[in-house]
């Protein structure tokens, strides 16, 4: 089943076309990697799928439903979650509280309930704490739950963002350069976590520059260049695609 279908998607910023007439789809349960040189339009694509800004033209179907015109928070309620290339940790909160915000769409206490915390509200709060701790355990941060999020080292902050994003139990998870800045051990842990998430039934779409990781975990790869889709295929197909090699290494790369 196709969980995400992007067709004829275009986004222009003034005279610059960041994403041009893009078509691709993601099947449920897949791990899809989007790669491409800097400025290829990868993050723009993510921002379009999560409705940070509207596309100039084209359509995005999530579970056969058009999501164009929705707001970023409505997208989350539909079951799409994401992490960010530049960390967007809530520095004013503890590690646990960061993940607890991730349970926002799965809980419903409003202002009145918050003012008068009746037993039902307290039960919901306990459930939020429990499931948030489980997500922290998944990424190996359970013992740091009560620390200030801003005190975590970079690698752990990246893991925290993943825990926070999966706390809402999304169907589609978008990871924007999850391995960037991680050391080899942390990258191994990340790969394990991504496999665990896939086994839980979460479809994963990721942007990544670390080719070794991409080739290992992706079922399929979409290659972008200057806003256009250059190629799409299995890691093997992509590795042997002349156009892709040209885009990455330059034309001369082909001659040797």
């Amino acid at each position: 089943m196709k969980i995400l279908e992007v067709s004829k998607l275009t986004k222009s910023f003034g005279g610059v076309t960041a994403v041009n007439d893009m078509n691709f789809s993601v099947n449920s349960g897949e791990i899809i990697a989007v790669i491409g040189p800097n400025g290829a339009g990868k993050t723009t694509l993510f921002n379009l799928i999560t409705c940070i800004y509207p596309p100039t033209s084209g359509s995005i179907l999530f579970k056969q439903k058009e999501i164009r015109g929705l707001t970023a928070d409505q997208i989350a309620h539909l079951g799409i979650s994401r992490t960010f290339q530049n960390l967007q940790i809530f520095n004013n909160m503890s590690v646990l509280e960061n993940v607890m915000v991730g349970r926002h769409t799965k809980s419903k206490t409003g202002l009145l309930g918050a003012i008068f915390p009746l037993p039902a509200v307290q039960r919901e709060e306990e459930a939020i704490v429990q499931s948030s701790l489980e997500k922290l355990a998944l990424v190996g941060l359970a013992d740091k739950a009560l620390e200030a999020a801003s005190n975590l080292p970079y690698g752990e902050q990246k893991m925290l963002e993943i825990a926070r994003a999966v706390a809402m139990e999304p169907e589609l998870l978008l990871l924007d350069e999850p391995a960037a800045g991680l050391n080899p051990t942390e990258t191994r842990d990340l790969v394990e976590i991504i496999y665990k998430l896939r086994d839980q039934g979460i479809t994963i779409l990721l942007v990544e520059h670390d080719m070794e990781t991409v080739m290992e975990i992706a079922d399929r790869i979409v290659v972008l260049n200057f806003g256009n889709k250059l190629a799409e295929g299995t890691p093997y197909e992509i590795q042997n695609n002349r156009e892709v090699i040209a885009a990455y290494l330059g034309e001369e790369g082909l001659s040797c």
Binding site: A76, Q88, I89, R103, H104, T105, K108, E124, L146
Partner: protein, 337 residues
């Protein structure tokens, strides 16, 4: 989780200690002047607690809260003096009315951010103040409401002296603290703080940031309105001057001095600034006999700048952090020796 329960218990213990302090204070300080200062501190604390929910937790600013404070005061004053209804009913009408005004005006205003939002709320405060001054038939204009405003009473007991009023005001302040504490440690409070932390991330997690900004703005306006009603029935006379821009700035300074991201900060901030203002009222005329009220602006400005530079988290958390830092350095020095 054990640590989590311990933290919650600690917060409850703090509220309990605060309650005991409130009840004990008038027994020690039973001098009418001190009591009247404490009543004003309590009333202003209610406004500033609401403002801290907006500023410290949601990260939004308002330079117009004196307007909401005034709306509460004038609604109470006009309704009780003209229609002789119960002050409690008037207070409720004021709170609901102010809430509706804040919500309605908040819809367009919260499309703005930061400096623009500050200017919009400043404009809002000024407009409300101008209405108090110009609508002479309704508000009595610049000279104030001439009809007498009654005292508040509970079951026939008229709260006509400072001692009785002190307990009422601080009971409501305590309630304001408890409600704010509940809100902060809830799903709503986390959503508000997430907006402050990163609007991007908050939205990606499903937080409708416009809705939450609007709600906390409305809640803080209702806090201000209730405080205004309490003020009207305490002084029993109101004129536009205490509800102007200067008061709005004063509230912001109190909030910043106390520490924005704290429920207890506001009470200390208000107490600090109020005591300082009262002290200056006696000291300044002796030093500079021809000084007018404008020196307050200079003092507030200086305090704001000093706090922002040296204790950006406010007096309470700032001092706590300084102490932690000192202990940390001392610990390291001990290890080295």
């Amino acid at each position: 989780m054990q640590d989590l329960t311990r933290r919650k218990r600690f917060r409850h213990l703090f509220i309990l200690l605060f309650t005991i302090l409130i009840f004990a204070l008038p027994l020690v300080l039973n001098n009418n002047y001190y009591l009247s200062v404490l009543v004003i501190i309590g009333i202003h604390s209610i406004v500033v607690i609401g403002l801290c929910l907006l500023m410290g937790y949601a990260g939004q600013i308002s330079l117009g809260h004196a307007g909401f404070y005034g709306l509460g005061a004038y609604t109470s004053g006009i309704i009780t003096s003209t229609y002789h209804t119960s002050p409690w009913v008037a207070m409720l009408v004021g709170a609901i009315g102010t809430g509706i005004v804040a919500y309605t005006i908040g819809i367009p205003i919260f499309k703005l951010k930061e400096h623009y939002l500050a200017l919009a709320t400043l404009g809002l405060g000024l407009i409300i103040h101008i209405i108090f001054v110009e609508e002479v038939a309704l508000t009595g204009g610049p000279s104030g409401l001439t009809r007498p405003i009654p005292y508040l009473s509970i079951g026939g007991l008229e709260l006509s002296n400072d001692f009785k009023y002190y307990y009422l005001v601080w009971l409501i302040t305590l309630l304001a603290v408890i409600i704010a504490n509940n809100v902060v440690h809830s799903r709503v409070g986390r959503a508000l703080r997430s907006i402050h932390g990163s609007e991007f991330a908050a939205r990606s997690l499903g937080v409708d940031i416009g809705k939450f900004k609007l709600r906390v703005f409305t809640l803080s306006a209702i806090y201000a309105s209730i405080a205004g009603s309490l003020y009207a029935h305490y002084i029993t006379f109101i004129s536009p001057s205490p509800f102007g821009l200067m008061t709005s700035i004063q509230f912001v300074v109190m909030a910043v001095v106390g520490g924005l991201s704290s429920i207890w900060g506001p009470v200390f901030g208000v107490a600090g600034i109020t005591v300082l203002t009262e002290a200056l009222k006696t000291v300044v005329p002796q030093l500079i006999p021809e000084a007018g009220g404008e020196y307050e602006i200079v003092v507030y400005g200086t305090i704001l700048v000093v706090i922002m530079i040296f204790l950006p988290e406010g007096l309470i958390s700032g001092l706590a952090n300084l102490y932690e830092g000192w202990r940390h350095r001392k610990g390291q020095a001990d290890e080295n020796s």
